[in-house]
Amino acid sequence: MTGVWDWFLWLYEAHGINLPVFYDSYDRQRFFAGLLTTLELSVCSVVASVAIGLVGAWALGSGSVVARRLVQGYVHAFRNTPPLIQLSFLYFAVGNLLPRLEMAGGGSRPLLDGFAWAVVTLSLFGGAFNVEIFRSGIEAVPASTVEAAEALGFNRWRLHRHVVLPLALRICLPALSNNLVNLVKTSTLAYAIGVPELLYVSAQVWADAMNVREMMNVLLVTYVGMVGLLSFGLRRLEAALRVPGLGTVGGQP
């Protein structure tokens, strides 16, 4: 490994391409800590936003008018406002209203830190789109298929669990993939409230090393790799769920 890191030192000395995030152990440590934070932020937000989407879509289809109105209001609020403003609003305005936790050595800290607020905001932001995505999938399941399940005695929960959601997921997976990829990229906004994610640590590195051009390239390549892995996984999922006669336009039956 040391050989690889040394190669980047040689690259700098021989060609002037300065990538301390690889040859300098301190920069390397904070860069990979940032990468880890971004990954954690992404995984938490993706999982939570999918859960929000499922619960929201379920509520939209329920008989309760109150539940439907609540979900519709939430979708409008979080889909129709910029995520940077949502983040600032939740972190600075709502965050200050919450009680603070007393610390052992005196003083206090906020109930939720920047990372937690970023996860909350990204989940709510991505979730609002996911509600609509899942709704489109659920509504595309033919009424006749639903009736067949009802005629077999399926109640609403089992109907969704075994018939509607498995079919809806297959129908809406391309749209869901788009939104999740977008959500991972949107995680860079956490920079604005000081969460030490990839963009934040990169800015620290280029402020110290004056290597903006190099760090921009490192950032772009890292995101392309990360998002590429995610879309690859989602495409594999799509292929694994493919069944003959369903959503096979342009694909194999």
């Binding site: 009736e147 077999l152 005695g153 399926f154 018939v163 006669g245 369903l246």
Partner: protein, 266 residues
Amino acid sequence: MLDLAADRHAAAVPSPGLLPRTDSPAVVLTDVRKSFGASRVLNGVSLSIPRGNVTCVIGPSGSGKSTLLRCINALTPVDSGSVLVDGIAVHDPALDKLALRRRVGMVFQQYNLFPHKTALENVMMAPIHVLGEDREEVEARAVALLSRIRLLDKAHSYPGALSGGQQQRVAIARSLAMRPTIMLFDEVTAALDPVMVKEVLATVRDLADDGITCILVTHEMGFARDVADQVCFTDQGIVVEEGPPEKIFTNPDDPRTRDFLGHVRF
């Protein structure tokens, strides 16, 4: 005509609350009415279907045949009148739908199999997830059902890879896996070619031989004539005439029945 039919069956209606006797009719409809918005689809249907019988409901499109069938398993709630199935009051708002649908299977024109499940899984799903039965037991039963409809070799095929006739037979097997006592068939051969129609009707005839009460909405007059115990002609939301097929097809009482059958090829 409507009143005539109602009177004829008045004696056969068991009082609600009584347990079904084996000799009581499987299904009794009394003055059933149903409207969708301004359109009145059922205008007071009364009908009694004896246990173990094959009843064919015939009539012009839009005469309320399918709605009549869907009222029997509560897919369509009735506006007024009573529907008794095995002694269960289907018109009761407090109806236990599961109890009803364990007894009543339904097969549709468009098969409506679950496209993400194989033929075998389609047959196994309801007993496992609805009745909570043991998977191995259900699988043995499902395999037996598939071999009975001669589709065991397609057990692991998805519906999208089966022909229409094969899908429809799997749909019948899927309903039978719930061990119903009554089967409803809603124009189950309307989307099939003549060879497949034969396959599917042979399967239905098989069920009738087993003593399952079969109610078919159909345009297959040949089948109605040859297999049905009772034929029921509907027009404009009422049962115009009913009786044994020999009577309905050769010597119907009502001019509307005569007129309709005059347009039918056998």
